[in-house]
Amino acid sequence: MTPCPAVIATVSEYVPVLVMLIFAVSFAGFSLVVSVLLGKKAPTNPVKDAAYECGMPPISDAHQRFSVKFYLVAILFVLFDIEVVFLYPWAVQFQAMPAFLFAEMLVFIGILFLGWWYVIRKGAVDWSTE
């Protein structure tokens, strides 16, 4: 199999990536410099200096117990997120056989919907059961 011409990359094709990199770095540097120059010097306190102002303290013992509900929500998020990713290749290929692919996706979304229904009825996203 010969690789298709578009795959053969030359160095010049990476120029946009380079431009993007330069732009990203200079934007970050620019923002920092501008905020130091123009920003108001407010009094600081330990909470304000912490990496995050909400959630878990960033430095502490890692052996902590989390509510299992965090995991449940995280897994449900990943599950539905990944399933929606299937929509992209589907959309790209849609022109090839529209009627068939439309029916296939209806089945897929239907099963996804059943799963969502199951999750809601089971009370998996209900935080106040106990």
């Binding site: 199999m1 059943l114 229904w117 199951y118 089971k122």
Partner: protein, 515 residues
């Protein structure tokens, strides 16, 4: 080949719908009625079984899902085996879950989804569908193995199974990558440039010798991954712990369904991907595989049967005995490989494996249903000493379990004997080939192991009949499980006495195997 052909996949579609119905019905049923979902499952699967048995054996191979899926005689036969397994698992789980008292909806839908995976496994025609369908089976079984989550042993079973399963999956993908690297193809059968069907094995046979070594390496690693699934020594370490810890119906499902799925895949890879050597060709590839598998089969036979002897727990003993049975089934694989190495196309090893699995379903299921009936309350421990005096406490149960154990050991008029007989005779047939006379040693090992296994199976029988009962609490035999167990035992005897139609059914799978 290049069509969806959804009508060929109707059994799988039916199974998925059944699983979804059970899952959703669980949400709307009153808690005490949820345990009836087991009967829904058994009923739904019985309809499927009748449908499959009414389907005539296809005379040609048909492809669906753009070449990912094949419908042939072997797939149909194995689907019948899986459907029967599913019914028996559903029947024995219903009473079990009622006593254990936890979540029947998820349990039965997971059983059905695992069965869907097994159905897909029976029809694989592509490395990708092989991997996805096998993972569907194992993912469901991971959860089922850890289903008694408040029981430490069950949790241990789940964790051990998931770690070993993940490693086996990784090895399989590694092997597939090498085969793909050598051949540039993931489909087992595909349309060549001239419009003719091409087998991947032909592609491998036409490779240069360097690439053939790459493919051989791929086969070896892939078959190691599958060796984990079928519990072949030295990839068996997980079996005793998982079999002991998992809920008894899940152990039954593992020992029959999961093992059969692994053997189907080994057979598919060997018949469709491993090349047949033209007579006189100087190619050591398949010969190496014969030697490797003969070694694994011999080790598996001896290890499984010898390690079963000192066991004190019946479920653990069944785990080791299941390793031993994997050894017998591997004899058939060795026979097929030896035939391939000699350039012959006869595949009697495959029909022997098919017959053995068919007989093994009823034998093993009768034994496990008996074990589920034996434990009362929510307990699930099976010390062999607890079975003392069962002949007095529950004569019918003891009789059925005795017949099942004798069939597992391979005593003549029962189904298990003929299964072993056909496997050993397929190996003897392969030993007639030039340069494979040493396979007779393997056949002898098979015969010796029948005797070894007789010892530990009969030790259980001895406790049931010769010792006094440790408790005089009566054992209640729930009617559905009792009927299922007796039906299995009747079939074990019938298959043993009138093997004709069953052997015919098993040899019927050969016609469409190698295309």
């Amino acid at each position: 080949m290049d069509a969806m052909n959804l009508h060929l996949m109707l059994p799988e579609i039916y199974l998925v719908l059944l699983g979804l119905v059970i899952l959703i019905a669980d949400l709307y049923l009153a808690p005490e009625k949820r345990f009836n979902l087991g009967w829904w499952t058994a009923g739904g699967l019985s309809v499927l079984a009748v449908w499959l048995f009414a389907t005539p054996t296809p005379e040609t191979v048909e492809f669906a899902g753009f070449g990912l899926y094949r419908a042939d005689g072997f797939a149909l036969f194995m689907k019948k085996v899986f459907a029967l397994t599913g019914i028996l698992v559903a029947v024995m789980s219903t009473g079990y879950l009622k006593r254990y008292g936890r979540g029947p909806g998820e349990f039965f839908s997971l059983v059905i989804f695992a069965l869907t995976g097994m159905f897909m496994v029976a029809s694989v025609n592509d490395f990708m569908s092989l991997f996805v369908s096998l993972e569907l089976v194992t993912l469901c079984l991971f959860i089922l193995a850890a289903y008694r989550r408040h029981d430490k042993l069950s949790g241990e079973a789940g964790i051990k199974y998931i770690i070993v399963g993940a490693m086996a999956a990784g090895l399989m993908l590694f092997g597939m990558a090498f085969i793909y690297g050598a051949t540039g193809e993931v489909r087992f059968t595909y349309m060549g440039a001239d419009g003719q069907l091409v087998l991947l094995s032909q592609t491998v046979a036409n490779l240069e010798s360097g690439w053939q070594m790459t493919a051989l390496f791929g086969f070896t690693v892939l078959l190691v991954g599958l060796g984990f699934k079928v519990a072949a020594v030295p990839f068996h370490v997980w079996v005793p712990d998982v079999y002991q810890g998992a809920p008894t119906p899940v152990t039954a499902f593992l020992s029959v369904g999961s093992k059969a799925a692994g053997f189907i895949l080994i057979i598919r890879v060997i018949t469709l991907v491993v090349p047949t050597i033209a007579p006189g060709a100087d190619l050591a590839l398949v010969d190496q595989l014969v030697k490797l598998f003969a070694l694994i089969a011999g080790l598996t036979l001896f290890y499984g049967n010898l390690a079963a002897i000192p066991q004190k727990n019946l479920k653990r003993l069944m785990g080791f005995s299941s390793i031993g049975h994997a050894g017998y089934l591997l004899l058939g694989i060795v026979a097929v490989l030896a035939m391939k190495a000699a350039g012959e196309e006869t595949m009697n090893g495959v029909s022997a494996i098919a017959f053995y699995l068919f007989a093994y379903v009823f034998t093993n299921m009768a034994m496990f249903i008996g074990m589920v009936i034996f434990t009362q309350g929510s307990e699930d421990s099976h010390a062999i000493d607890d079975y003392a005096g069962l002949g007095k406490r529950a004569p019918l149960l003891a009789l059925c379990m005795t017949i099942a154990l004798l069939s597992l050991a391979g005593v003549p008029p029962l189904a298990g004997f003929f299964g072993k007989f056909y496997l050993i005779s397929s190996i003897v047939e392969a030993a007639r080939l030039d340069g494979y006379g040493w396979l007779l040693v393997l056949a002898a090992a098979g015969a010796v192991n029948v005797v070894i296994s007789m010892y530990y199976y009969l030790c259980v029988v001895k406790r049931m009949y010769m010792l006094e009962p440790t408790s005089d609490e009566p054992i209640h035999l729930p009617p559905p499980a009792k009927i299922a167990m007796v039906a299995c035992i009747v079939l074990v005897v019938v298959i043993g006495i009138f093997q004709g139609p069953f052997v015919q059914m098993a040899t019927g799978v050969l016609a469409t195997l190698g295309f």
